[in-house]
Symmetry: C2
Subunit: 94 residues, 2 copies
């Protein structure tokens, strides 16, 4: 199983657990996952696409769909951070 396949399972598992019991620990896992995603060159739009695909196949309520954004947000914070870091490194190099 390559990283992309395991990512799908891991991300779905994270969302499911978060919706059953929303807590900081799982949000922190989301932060850690985002570092891994960036390391494996997974684009941010791939995460949004994966998120859409998981919620499309789910039987989650509208409230749960909205709550699931908390995990997506944590992952995106990682991308935002990496992006700003790249920007500041570039400015230093110019």
């Amino acid at each position: 199983m390559d990283f992309r396949d395991s990512l799908e399972l891991k991300y779905k598992d994270m969302l499911t657990h978060y919706l059953m019991d929303p807590n900081e620990r799982i949000l922190y896992q989301g932060q850690k996952l985002s570092r891994k995603l960036i390391e494996f060159n997974i684009a941010p739009e791939e995460v949004v696409s994966l998120h859409k695909s998981i919620i499309s196949d789910s039987d989650w309520s509208k409230k749960e769909l909205i709550d699931s954004f908390d995990i997506l947000l944590e992952v995106m914070i990682g991308y935002g951070f990496a992006y700003r870091e790249h920007q500041s490194l570039r400015v230093q190099q110019l």
Copy 2:
């Protein structure tokens, strides 16, 4: 009205129009908006947060919530592109 305030209105308007009539033209507007967002240093997590806030306040159905991801996806494609561009520029500079 500063860019952040007008962004909120513009993004909401884009989502509303897309859900009433999903078409390529609005998806293309999403692409254009992402370039503007990057130019104004809006972080990707701010867009996810804005998306969440708009759908939380909406009376959209579950299907509409899922469809609204198409716009978020277009915007994130822009961030992914900008991020890869920065990466390749850095590699060239090293």
